[in-house]
């Protein structure tokens, strides 16, 4: 339950309200984690919040998080500068089933900050790209200025083995890309539905509609995975806060196969 102090190496602004934080690895062997897992980040005297790990699992020398400022703790994280300290506990939770997806096409659908927990899976897949079939990333965000990892998305889009589409809810100015919610990208995407694994992260409504579209395309239920968000105080299955029906999200999730949560997703206030 006690966080380990950890030093900030770098921070950089991603968008107006979102920034990325690079922390020094905790031990000499580096920080190892699996894509989809999260850490609890503690700000001295302010609080502790769950934040997904957004870095490259093959670069254990640093711990990377991408944070959207929404309240007191995330604001406290934003105020950190190079060499400042914060406390960290983790990694916690279940990973994206990247290994299981080998031999399949992979479709990743991300909404807003939901791209952060999916980025380690993207790194992981690109690191052994030949093991997978088609690789599609569909990413939707509010507006052109809210696009996360802009440079990196441009680099990735230049690859011939990565089919990447971005859409925004609303566009002003010179935006020439897609406008509309992320689900509108699904019918146009190319993949072999029965042999596709889908990884989804974003607001709950976005995930619900995305699942419906993917099922319509013919992706089997047991090959669809989502990452759930709940209030978390402990991260280790002891505080009870993150319950989602029978699931303790910090321990049994955050990544769930759709088949395990299907009966709960439509129920209000569960």
């Amino acid at each position: 339950m006690v966080p380990v102090p950890c030093r900030v190496m770098r921070t950089y602004q991603e968008t107006g309200d979102t920034f990325t934080l690079e922390l020094e690895s905790l031990s000499q062997d580096g920080f190892s984690f699996r894509p989809g897992q999260f850490n609890m980040l503690y700000i001295h005297g302010v609080g502790e919040v769950p934040i997904s790990i957004s870095g490259d699992p093959h670069k254990p020398e640093s711990v990377v998080h991408t944070v959207r400022v929404v309240g007191i703790v995330t604001w406290g994280i934003k105020k950190l500068r190079r060499r400042d300290f914060l406390g960290i506990r983790g990694p916690f939770g279940t990973p994206w089933p990247v290994d299981l997806a080998e031999g399949n096409d992979v479709v990743i659908v991300a909404g807003g900050i939901g791209l952060a927990p999916l980025r380690p899976a993207i790194y992981d897949i690109l690191a052994r790209r030949e093991k997978f079939g088609k690789f599609v990333l569909l990413y939707g965000t509010r507006g052109p200025s809210d696009i996360l990892y802009f440079r990196q998305l441009e680099d990735w889009r230049a690859r011939f083995d990565f089919d990447l589409h971005v859409t925004v809810d609303r566009a002003f100015g010179p935006w020439k890309g897609n406008v509309g919610v992320v689900t509108t990208l699904i019918p146009k995407a190319h993949f072999d539905p029965v042999n596709t694994v889908a990884l989804i992260c974003g607001p709950e409504v976005m995930m619900r509609f995305t699942i419906l579209e993917l099922l319509k395309k013919g992706i089997p239920e047991d090959k669809i995975f989502i990452s759930m968000e709940r209030n978390m105080k402990c991260g280790i299955g002891l505080c009870g806060h993150c319950q989602f029906g029978p699931h303790i999200v910090c321990r049994d999730g955050p990544v769930f196969p759709y088949s395990a949560v299907r009966h709960l997703l439509g129920i209000r206030e569960i």
């Binding site: 339950m1 005297g45 406390g87 209030n231 105080k233 002891l238 009870g240 806060h241 029978p246 321990r251």
Partner: protein, 371 residues
């Protein structure tokens, strides 16, 4: 082997525990209620007090009986001694730009819990399954639990809101005690049957200088417990209940319960198995030293499920549903047993007298009608 200990020799048990270095916690009367607190001798026990409990009401009454353990489940359970309502977790020191975070040390003395009711005994086993098993464990709970000696007392009187018999948790103590007592009072006899359930418990028996109980005395003990079981006014039909509740999350009954429930959280506070907690962070005036405290929490508050943008369970309906389905349905998936031991506390301490056994019965009946 079962022993017979004269009631007027009960102080030998206190002495034996004291010699072994145990601090004794047991029932005593305070502010018109039985509470579990430090006790020194049989004089501190609630002799001649019995409770009257029903939906939304608890009253202690004086009786003519010399019985020490004539009360049933009191408001608080043992959980507060193992899982304190407030606990400092760590202190964070900020000096010259660095951070040092030190776990708070908590002294733990060996404790003897004297008078653990069968339902509460089972509740401890359930808390163990939450805090000690699985990947993570709670270190304070573990330290305290390992140093705790448990002396159960079988129930020979059913409380007004109890339903342990239907939950299979009482009125006779199941596994997990070190010693188990059955108190027997008749016109000219008052004694305890004593059984040990562990080596630790066995080692407390010889200082009692108790003789072996006769078969007749043992039969009297069993009969007294059976009488309590037969007198129990409430029951919960558990068969198929987890599935039934999971399949009825949108049942209209939840709206009706919500009209009565005040979301006061009493039920979660008195429940011997509710384990939810939150944390609070604070700093000293200079801001250099921060500390984190863990506090009991309840799924009946709106903040409990808060995530950026608002509470996920803004209505009382969804919070009552969370509570009841956790106790009687999801708990089974999470920890392999019900989260309810049938102690009846949540019925007694509900200010509007909501009874979960009644709600379960109605849901079962109406769900059946719907099929």
């Amino acid at each position: 082997m079962t022993y017979r200990l004269e009631a007027n020799a009960l102080d030998r048990l206190f002495k034996a525990l004291g010699t072994k270095g145990y601090v004794i916690f047991g029932p005593t009367v305070r502010d018109s209620a039985v509470v579990y607190d430090r006790i020194e001798s049989p004089n501190d026990l609630p002799a001649g007090w019995a409770d009257q409990q029903t939906n939304g009401s608890y009253r202690l009454v004086k009786t003519d009986s010399p019985a020490y353990f004539d009360f049933t489940a009191p408001p608080q359970s043992w959980k507060r001694l193992l899982f304190p309502p407030s606990l400092h977790l760590f202190r964070s020191h900020r000096r010259n730009g660095t951070l040092e975070i030190l776990e708070e040390e908590h002294e733990t003395e060996p404790m003897a819990f004297l008078g653990v009711r069968p339902c509460d005994l089972r509740a401890l086993a359930i808390l163990d399954s939450v805090y000690l098993n699985g990947g993570a464990s709670d270190s304070t709970y573990r330290q305290r639990r390992e140093k705790t000696l448990i002396i159960a007392v079988n129930c020979t009187r059913a409380g007004g809101t109890c339903f342990c018999a239907s939950m299979g948790t009482g009125p006779e103590a199941g596994a997990g005690f070190d010693l188990c007592l059955t108190e027997l009072v008749s016109e000219h006899d008052h004694y305890f049957l004593v059984e040990s359930g562990s080596a630790k418990g066995e080692s407390c028996v010889s200082p009692l200088q108790a003789r072996e109980a006769t078969p007749q005395e043992q039969t009297s003990g069993r009969e007294a417990i059976r009488t309590a079981a037969a007198a129990m006014g409430r029951s919960l039909q558990t068969q198929g209940l987890p599935e039934l509740l999971a399949a009825n999350l949108s049942h209209p009954r939840w709206d009706q319960i919500a009209r009565r429930c005040l979301a006061c959280a009493n039920c979660t506070m008195v429940c011997p198995t509710c384990f939810c907690s939150t944390v609070e962070d604070s700093t000293d005036l200079s801001g250099a030293i921060a500390s984190r405290t863990r506090l009991w929490d309840s799924c009946f508050t709106a903040e409990f499920s808060y995530i950026h943008g608002g509470s996920l369970r803004p209505t009382i309906k969804s919070r009552y549903r969370q509570w009841m389905t956790h106790k009687l349905s999801s708990w089974v998936a999470q920890f392999g047993s019900f989260g309810c031991v049938g102690c009846g506390r949540c019925i007694t301490w509900c200010p509007v007298g909501i009874d979960l056994t009644e709600e379960a019965r109605i849901l079962r009946g109406q769900a059946a009608e719907h099929v």
